[in-house]
Symmetry: C2
Subunit: 349 residues, 2 copies
């Protein structure tokens, strides 16, 4: 498998399957692990970074679960490649910013990705479509078991797993769920909902993580503290909070449908019409419009388009994906024209 082959697959997080997939885009569990007796990446020298890279690579390549993965050193990737992986939610922006002895490991179905020498020696991510935290947890637990058998992880009985940032110390675990909450945005309840989320020690981020806005009514909700609870408690806790959010969004959608439905139909249909007819369009506008079309599909307002196609468009219209598809670098203006052409072509077919 090569990096460019990924473009012909649908990302796991956009498959649109799994429980509650009308509201929950994807569930993700991330685990931080560090090798014993080696400094954290930002304190390690070149030799130590290389040692970390080699040791973890060997363990991954000899793991049953991970042997079919693609191992890419960041030094071998250009900027479009890196942006491409960020857009697919396989790699963090921070990881992409420097290349020294960093690597990224990706499983065939894009369910697993592992960043080596990011903030921690290993950042393991498991993604599942829909509301599927337990399955993601089972997969990451198995990977952790396999790697633990081959690597000596930094661990103190009274602290748990040690990590570069103290907020991750303990389980090293963070769970996050990507939600599509258009009705709570439209009825202006979203800020109140997010305030409650914060009080429960959860954070809400946008489609592309920390610092990104709530583009397209997408909210990534994750736990803030990894310490003081065991893994099952953490997963249960997130699960409970997300379940409440799903109920609130479901209720808000029902109210909209029984209230001024025509207003909703108008907004959704206009969004669809703009997508089918624009000749210049930014990625932000596209995501906002696709968000409305997705809601239209969920509510049965739009029927003449495949859900899979809409999910695919969320990612195909991102800057690096457009350039991968075209096979050349494109300026921002060229991308806006190319993006509109691809959307028209896909939605006409």
């Amino acid at each position: 498998m090569k990096l460019d082959d990924l473009i012909n697959h649908t990302c796991e997080w956009l498959r649109g399957t799994g429980p509650n997939s009308d509201i929950v885009i994807s569930s993700r569990i991330r685990m931080a692990r560090n090798l014993n007796k080696l400094p954290f990446p930002h304190r390690a020298n070149k030799k130590q970074q290389e040692e970390i890279l080699n040791k973890t690579r060997e363990a991954i390549e000899n793991s049953d679960y991970l042997k079919k993965t693609m191992f890419l050193e960041l030094a071998s990737l250009d900027n479009v490649d890196k942006q491409f992986l960020i857009e697919r939610h396989l790699m963090s922006r921070e990881h992409a910013s420097k290349s020294n002895h960093k690597a990224i490991v990706i499983s065939e179905e894009e369910i697993v990705s592992i960043m080596i020498n990011e903030e921690d020696h290993l950042r393991i991510q498991v993604m599942q479509s829909g509301f599927n935290l337990f399955e993601a947890w089972q997969i990451i637990d198995r990977i952790d078991d396999e790697l633990s058998a081959k690597l000596d992880f930094a661990f103190l009985p009274e602290w748990g797993y040690l990590t570069a940032c103290p907020t991750n110390t303990g389980t090293g675990l963070r769970g996050s769920v990507m939600l599509h909450l258009p009705a709570l945005v439209m009825n202006k309840q979203i800020n109140k909902v997010l305030q409650v989320i914060n009080k429960l020690s959860f954070t809400a981020r946008g489609l592309y993580g920390e610092g990104t806005q709530a583009l397209g009514n997408f909210f990534q909700i994750s736990n803030q503290v990894a310490l003081g609870h065991n893994e099952d408690e953490i997963i249960d806790n997130i699960h409970g909070v997300i379940k409440q959010l799903i109920e609130q969004e479901t209720q808000a959608r029902a109210v909209m449908m029984s209230g001024n439905k025509e207003l909703l139909v108008d907004r959704i249909s206009r969004s669809f019409g703009t997508l089918k007819n624009a000749h210049i369009i930014s990625s932000n506008e596209t995501v906002e419009l696709l968000s409305m079309v997705r809601l239209g599909l969920d509510l049965g307002i739009i029927k003449d388009v495949e859900r899979g196609l809409i999910n695919e468009l969320f990612i195909l219209i991102q800057p690096a994906h457009l350039q991968k598809l075209k096979g050349e670098k494109l300026s921002s203006q060229e991308r806006d024209v190319r993006r509109a052409a691809i959307i028209r072509e896909k939605l006409a077919g």
Copy 2:
């Protein structure tokens, strides 16, 4: 012929034929005439108003050219009927505001309309599609000759025809041309152009006359002074000014097409997409979007729709037309939904 039959015809001013019909919607000549020895309508008492109505009615019904017209006393019309005639540019708002001894005369093809007891005893209007002032003038001249043979018009050799407002005294003639100037609006030259127009003693109004905005990039240009020139000079003068405006708009369109054409295509296509998909839409938004689609047809950017259909929509989506079509009174909200449904239906077919 009955009033309601008009809805099945295309108004003369929207036929979209005649010279320069890509830029000139319609040409109109209006003539003011008053009966000798009877006060102007706003000074006449009921008996005198009735006398004016009866005398002019008899003359019209015995005129060769006008015998096939429809004669409607305003007292017999409800508010929707009146609004319907205003929307079709057959009657002024002022005429509709009171019903006392007023009437409206309409020819089968809606080329001629005559208001009785408006500001003057007779306000004769002749409309032609496209840039066709001379033909309009020939028709109105013939009507004037026929009526002059039957009626004694107030006329003083040194002043010409007398009228209620001194700006109409002399020929009683006003010529006006409705132009579609989207390129001059988009390149922001329109205000400069209108300033020049004003200095030449012309006024620019919107789609629905005095006080209406330049909705949909439509501008109605007319002469301000009827005195001091004979009829041919007045017509020639308007013709010359309009010819220059047509050239400026043509040039502006060419510049847009050779410049950033994609930007123009984007705006036009989005407008078309919104019309085909909206479920709630105001008449103002519709006119703005139809204006873009009309430009798209003129420039060959839109091809898969009949020009006649777009012209028809300009009028069918007006409030009174929607109510006539439905056969019942509709609230503003109901009209916005009905309007969107009619547009979708017409553009899908």
